[in-house]
Amino acid sequence: MTPPDLVRLTTSRRDFVKLLGASVALAGLGACVREPDRKILPYVDTPPDVVPGVPLHYATVMTLDGYATGLLVESHTGRPTKVEGNPDHPASLGAAGVYEQASVLQLYDPHRARAVRAGRRRATWSAAASAFAPAALARRVGARGAGLRLLLPPTSSPLVASLLERVLVRWPDARVAFYAPLASDGAVAGTRTALGAPLVPQYDFRAADVVVSLDADFLSSGPFHLRWASHHGVRRRATPPCRLYVAEPVPTPTGTLADHRLPIAPAGIASLAATLLHAVAADPRVTGRVGAVPLPAPSGTLPADARAWASAAAADLAASPGRSIVLAGERQPAEVHAVVHALNAMLANAGATVWYTPPALVDAGSHAIGLDALATELDGRTVDTLVVLEGNPCYGAPADLDLPRRMRAVPNSLYLGAYADETARVTTWHVPAAHYLESWGDARAYDGTTSLVQPLIAPLHDGRTPAEVLAVLAGAGERSAHDLLFDAWRERHGAPPEAEAAWSDALRRGIVAGSALPRATPPPRWDAVARAQRGIADRAGPSRDTTEIVFLPSRGVYDGRFADNAWLQELPDPITKLTWDNAATMAPAHAARLGIVTGDVVALRLGPRTLDVPALLVPGQADGVVSLAIGYGRRGAEAVARGVGANANLLRASDAPHAATGLVIARTGRRHALALTQTHWSIEGRGPSVLGEPPASRPAASERAGAPEPQRKRRPLTLYEPGPPPKDGFGEDQWAMVIDLDACTGCSACVVACQAENNVPVVGKEGVLDSREMHWLRIDRYVDGPLDAPRFETQPMLCQHCEKAPCEYVCPVGATVHSDDGLNEMIYNRCVGTRFCSNNCPYKVRRFNWFDYNAEVAETVRMAKNPQVTVRGRGVMEKCTFCVQRVRQAQRTAWLAGEPRTGPVVTACQQTCPTHAIVFGSLTDPESEVRRLFDDPRGFSALGELGTVPRVRYLARARSAPAPSADSPGAGAAGGGGGDDDDV
């Protein structure tokens, strides 16, 4: 819903929001000592949409490296508390990723910059605006702006684009650089090569029977990963079984779901792509359709397992024309992308499962310069004024550019940033940036769909948006982002009544209808493809003698922008389960050769640069490859982030920012404690009991319907008579959950969603080292089989709400009991904290408040708490409640409305799961999906033989789907064997 006053009455809306939240927040901020009695203001006129206790949801978008993901944000009396995906938005489809989920905490971060700074003095926005207004600036940078440079991260905002255009009209000699540490133009450059135009590929994974990914983690990272994960999840459940081939140097969530996974060094990816193209082009099924394409043979440096993988994938692809997808990782070079585009064209996928759109990102055209060029200019003293709009380039830029020193030399510089970070330290001006939940703006999704960014709260620290700064530079003065946006909107949408109706509609729905960019499928230019193929053949392939390093985004803090977000710092990496750190990950065999074990600090030397990082052994990583997450080793004013991990940017070079060869690893003899939430990888032969018996293949819907019996009965043999069957109807619900292990990528969005929804505290690195993390929902990761190419198992683990719960009977005070509708309830104010329940829980999902974790939380962070969930004190147990607050809310609503049955209840984890692996509902509802899936033949209860009768049922992950023609290298049995199944 959109409050009507958002449209016209901006001032009063601000006042209203200030009244609601900011007055409380700022009172807390301004006070250095706690003031127990502070003024509270009751509503004089209650805003029409606000009913105390009933949250409102507003649509907005969050951008990451320029691309938007649509969100619905829950607001409790003016405080945004929970972020969920917007089902209408193409990048979200209802899901949200870890960054979006956790972004709400950053809004309330007490370490955000709070005031404009000029030099060392505190200043005001008006002072900054007059200092950078054209009148003042013209004296410094010349009439045409020859001394003016702008540096900003990639953006898709039409508003920023139009303002940038105005700036460049006013300052025609100014130059603009776009930079983000993890952004790469490889994909666009690849289309320029192969298709003759700058385009970005779009995919429909629902229609893809065979997916071949060359280092593309399309299920858990990248701008459209939520959509693609959802679509791939749909396809995985359909007939006939689809097959996923993944070649990657470092295990990713996508790789763990692969049927055929190939660990390969980054340098080998290009050769692999070339080999694949060559094999597909030579396949008679393809030549019969496309004709012979003259392509040079790839170099023969690929290892045998890679060649086998490539021929299996090529055969499978050739057998699925128009129903397959080949894609390359974002940070792969242009040649690889070109080859992949050619492959899709050759396989008739282009136009079917793959198409292209113009890039949604803003391009400065002839005014654009690269970051390295900008750095050179800074040295040449030709730049007088540098305006940096977010992005923290002094931290994120490769070390060889030496940006901090060069930027410090600029006489006049302005940085718009949320924190007094590394960049803010070297600029003469620092203006606090507004959080997106405080901002007006717009942004486009990966397919171009435009959305409006609408604020849920007035800026807590008087933050500004890039548009407001650009307006100042363009000479528009101190205009608010809302006015700028609305003006731009009116320019595009005509006269007031229509414009305002469209505006309201866009705000309400979270998207501007019909704004997606047009599709195109230009034919490939085979000569250019052949040149790319030749370019690959000329490159050095993977070599046993050299060690390669890849720089990856951190799964928690991305490129460092979320480093002050404690939820994300404590979010275990989906693969390594590492928190509060980055580490040099390497294959166990590689580490064994070097005599390194996990926790050894190693000195990484790349060219002239060295960095000391702890090592972490990761099964399934390609041998001879080290990966290092960027985003750590922060030196800014962010207290949470400071001192956590090592800064990988100090090792990166601008000519090879994402992967480099020639790494030298030396032991230092020092040790470093790595906070891992899981320290034991092996399933210890308990696979059948914990992860179920893998069915022969992914069952199709038809098989499901015909199968009478789940693979394992839910109840073990018992002497007791079964109870009466549960009744149907209102008040007779029996809540249950089903988790499809075949769809779960382990992306961990659910973990953050649970944390946000249920006020789960963070415990810090020390707490994780002591195994005291509080996550109610965790993702267990097991590896099975040989350590160089294992099978990965992923299992979300949460309270199983056992019907025969072992925790309940051992509690001496009855603080954990069973509800009539099947919830295992935790009564916090009855708990005395004996912890017997945890000892007796076979799933170890109960969490204990070892300290008073909520006592030292900053006043602002308290605003992020969900008011519908108790904040637990010291000494009590807590655990997953199946989002009981949502269950009870739905029951109340149904009861008030006189419904015959409780409406659908969506738990926080289920809501955000991009692949819909989590299903929740009532077993007594014969129509419910959970009822249907509970009897699925793949269904099993984890540790079912213990007789706990869990209400969480897992659907076993299928064995790898074998390639139809080739002898598949990756297909293998799962589960360690060993344990007997006593359950039937």
Binding site: R686, R772, Q795, V810, R835, N839, F848, R874, G875
Partner: protein, 486 residues
């Protein structure tokens, strides 16, 4: 005693199988050591046995200071725990119970030997218990003081400890009687009460003797208050004997029940390593075993320092060593049974815990030291010579005392740190607070025990005198004895 006994006394006598004075004559040839050495008359005996409480030695000050300092550490560690929360310990998930519960079970176990000696052996007419029972009982009480502190400390919210007690709360909520923890509260509080009463009752005649011999008015008054007006009349002795025997009858089953119930704290759980039907007897045997080890540790120095070789004779040492051998062998059998049960049961989780994690896992050194000491040490006592060697006995006592702590550690931490899902496996490492609580509880025990030695007649004067009379009677020819009985 005459036939005009009170009905209660008759009942007690019938229940306990005859008069307590019907000791069979000892076949002297089978017992190499006398139960009591050559002793002078009753008066001299009283003087001799009460002497330690009248003559303070300068060593006391240092002993009290040392144990008091350790107790202060205990208080500090408790303060930290209460102020900061259980997080001050090394506990985690999965190891939610660790040192505190280990200490608790250990102290409870130690608390078993006292009652075993004073009550069990009384009912079984074991005369040799007479001279050491008070010391052993005091040990029981002080061990129970420590033991009852740990569960309180261990609560996340200790200020609500009374919720474990069934009391008529306003809201009508009761403890959950399905859980073994309220059973624990009941068992331990009962045991403590009965032990205290039993100990104090036995002490009354000696306190009266101390009152009568006290060198000054103050001390006479103090002992007089605690002697509860005991005059030593025949009727008082008659009621005393009845009450003492009845309390012994009450305390005896408690020896068995308390540790059985403590063992159920583990056995009712389904954790591999805990979920075992052998636990109650296994725990009781282990408790008595550890208790006797500690009795040795305390008794041997006391015997030496206070020159009590005439009342605590090699017979006592021999008997305790034999009990160690018996209980130690039963414990070894329990270890074997536990492992066999895990293997024979075929449960993969239990097999892993018992057959892989314990002998080969991260706490394997503790397991092997514990097993070696507990199984092998008592086997020394097949040798009659070693059974009466105080030094060997003392060292064995210390080793077993420590190894029994390790046993509880292995059972608790060794089972919790690797349970069903390998994903949640995690090691446990104690913090300084954990160590301080363990050391501090030993300090508190020492403080209480030293105070007991200093101010309380720690050898039961009246019982030793009685034993002397009985032995003198036994030495008479049978004709005289028969006449005596008539």
């Amino acid at each position: 005693m005459t036939t005009s006994d009170a009905p209660v006394a008759r009942l007690a006598r019938r229940a306990l199988g005859g008069g307590e004075r019907r000791f069979p004559p000892e076949p002297a040839s089978l017992e190499p050591h006398p139960v009591m050495g050559e002793l002078p008359d009753d008066g001299a005996l009283t003087t001799r046995l009460l002497a330690p409480i009248w003559t303070p030695a300068s060593a006391w000050k240092w002993l009290f200071l040392a144990s008091g300092a350790l107790s202060a550490l205990f208080v500090v560690a408790m303060g930290v725990t209460f102020a900061r929360g259980i997080g001050a310990w090394g506990n985690n998930i999965p190891v939610a119970w660790a040192y505190a519960i280990t200490d608790f079970v250990w102290w409870i176990g130690i608390g078993h030997a006292g009652t075993f000696i004073s009550a069990f052996l009384l009912l079984l007419n074991q005369r040799w218990r007479a001279s050491i029972n008070r010391l052993a009982e005091a040990m029981t009480l002080f061990a129970l003081v420590n033991a009852s502190l740990f569960p309180l400390l261990h609560l996340g919210r200790p200020w609500f400890f009374y919720w474990l007690i069934p009391y008529p709360a306003t809201m009508g909520v009761w403890p959950n009687f399905k859980s073994s923890l309220p059973w624990d509260v009941a068992a331990i509080s009962t045991y403590f009460t009965v032990s205290l009463l039993f100990w104090y009752l036995g002490l009354v005649p000696d306190l009266a003797a101390a009152r009568d011999r006290a060198p000054g008015t103050t001390r006479r008054r103090i002992y007089g208050v605690f002697a509860l007006g005991w005059r030593g009349r025949a009727s008082e002795w008659r009621h005393y004997r009845v009450a003492y025997t009845l309390l012994a009858g009450l305390a005896t089953p408690l020896v068995i029940s308390v540790h059985s119930i403590v063992s159920l704290d583990f056995a009712i759980a389904q954790l591999p390593g805990w979920h075992s039907t052998i636990f109650p007897p296994y725990f009781v045997v282990g408790a008595i075993y550890s208790g006797f080890a500690m009795v040795l540790m305390l008794m041997l120095p006391v015997r030496r320092i206070f020159g009590l070789e005439q009342v605590i004779t090699p017979r006592h040492l021999d008997r305790i060593a034999k009990l160690l051998l018996v209980t130690g062998s039963m414990l070894a059998y329990s270890y074997l049974c536990e492992a066999f049960g895990a293997w024979y049961g075929g449960d993969q989780f239990e097999r892993y815990t018992m057959l892989i994690a314990r002998p080969l896992g991260p706490y394997a050194p503790v397991f092997w030291v514990m097993t070696a000491v507990n199984v092998l040490t008592p086997q020394l006592f097949w040798s009659a010579r070693l059974r009466t060697n105080p030094l060997v006995l003392f060292v064995a006592g210390v080793l077993i005392w420590a190894a029994m702590w390790m046993e509880r550690f292995v059972i608790i931490v060794g089972s919790l740190n690797r349970d069903f899902l390998p994903s949640s496996w995690h090691l446990y490492a104690p913090t300084w607070v954990d160590w301080s609580l363990l050391a501090g509880s030993i300090g508190l025990f020492c403080l209480l025990f030293f105070a007991f030695l200093r101010w309380v007649p720690f050898v039961p004067v009246s019982e030793v005198k009685r034993l002397r009379h009985e032995m003198a009677r036994d030495a008479l020819p049978p004709a005289r004895r028969a006449g005596d009985a008539a």
